[in-house]
Symmetry: C2
Subunit: 251 residues, 2 copies
């Protein structure tokens, strides 16, 4: 069943009002009519089975029929601080990372990032990234849309990191030093509801200084297996492993 | 250090002769000279440290200095039978799947695949897919290049499956039926050196009949967590989970 995300402002006693592009999607693309059912996800991550009462291209009024108790969200809230990659790879990481259950993304302006974040284009760029996250959340049947944070440099990232219960930096050199089990060990110390911030380098990797500073501020430095993963593949490995550990193995 | 893959025919007592595009890459792109070192991977998956003795744009003669004992290959040989996806997604699966350690890929002509395999273009297409696998293997520091098999329909796939020690079909409906731990259970029965064939549907998914036939012929039907993954994301989840289980957790 098609699902749509709404803000708290779109709810009134027993009803949701869906507007904008989603209203157009329901009425024109899906050609839905009064009596048809949709799923509506609110800001708190709750999913409701709703019945359309009245709809046109700009507004869809729907009656809340049932609060569905869904558990499609990763038990660990994983935020990826992704070193700015080239081309459309940030879009790719956000689309695939959303499918795989990420709670949020921080575009990380790291030392060796070839791409510079153009502040004049930032609002438009962030809007585009948020749209990608929303669509991927709908498609993958999530009940929350991951947060896309404003881009951060190292100092800001360290300040942000204080709100996470666990912190890790993915660093491929570690795998070569035999320290390839730290990621699994870190996950073994975590419990459902914990939050994890994972820093990932851009194409050129993180500098040794960046890794040192992150380690000094409490980040665990961990490898992701013996093969060298591209910057856009590493975050997908992290999320898949967290899902496997907490959703399939379920210690 | 740059690595190159060679066939057995390119080896003579104590030497490798690198030809074709790789010779051009070494001499023109990397501008390497006699005395420079490269890594050479043979068909058996062994990696050798070699020193260039003589080189030009068509031939590079290099002396074998040392047989390096590398362990960059996944301990479980995973072959992905990927339902033919749209656009360039098969290329994507092969590139990312190679990074993540796949042993091979079978383009699977499943019932609901929108893309049809054009046999007249097949040789060129397979050549292109093999090139992508080779480049991704070099880049991710693998010591073997995954095999790209000829495309197979269901019957041929079932015949092929007999050579695998373990077989699984990824089926998202299973997650909804609470059978979301079968993948982890299957991995728990496997040991290093075992082989796993994983069948993944195309965009429209597998048909219930295909799933039934696969189950009847010994495939375990397993979900990959509660979120709905796109056809090109599911194989990356499988490989990441196998790596996490056998390389990081190392039971």
């Amino acid at each position: 069943m098609q699902r749509y995300f709404v803000s708290d402002a779109q709810r009134t006693e027993g009803f949701f009002t869906i507007t904008g592009e989603d209203a157009r999607h329901i009425s024109k693309v899906m050609r839905m009519k009064p009596g048809d059912s949709i799923l509506v996800c609110d800001e708190a991550g709750q999913t409701f089975l709703c019945e359309i009462q009245e709809n046109n291209e700009t507004n869809v009024f729907c009656l809340i029929k049932e609060n569905l108790v869904e558990t499609n969200e990763l038990p660990i809230k994983v935020t990826l601080a992704q070193g700015l990659p080239k081309g459309d790879k940030l879009e790719f990481v956000i689309q695939k990372g959303t499918e795989l259950g990420a709670a949020g993304f921080i575009p990380f302006e790291s030392e060796r990032a070839i791409v510079k974040w153009d502040t004049s284009k930032a609002p438009k760029k962030l809007e585009r990234l948020r749209k990608i996250a929303k669509e991927a959340a709908e498609q993958s049947h999530r009940s929350t849309i991951p947060l896309i944070h404003d881009p951060q440099k190292l100092n800001a990232l360290i300040v942000s990191s204080q709100s996470f219960s666990h912190k890790m930096v993915a660093y491929e050199e570690e795998a070569k030093h035999g320290e390839d089990k730290r990621f699994a060990r870190l996950l073994s110390t975590m419990q459902e509801g914990d939050s994890l911030l994972v820093v990932l380098g851009p194409e050129g990797g993180l500098t040794a200084e960046e890794v040192d500073i992150l380690q000094e501020t409490g980040f665990v430095c961990a490898g992701l297996g013996p093969r060298i993963l591209r910057t856009e593949t590493a975050p997908l490995y992290v999320l898949s492993a967290v899902s496997y550990q907490f959703e399939l193995l379920k210690r």
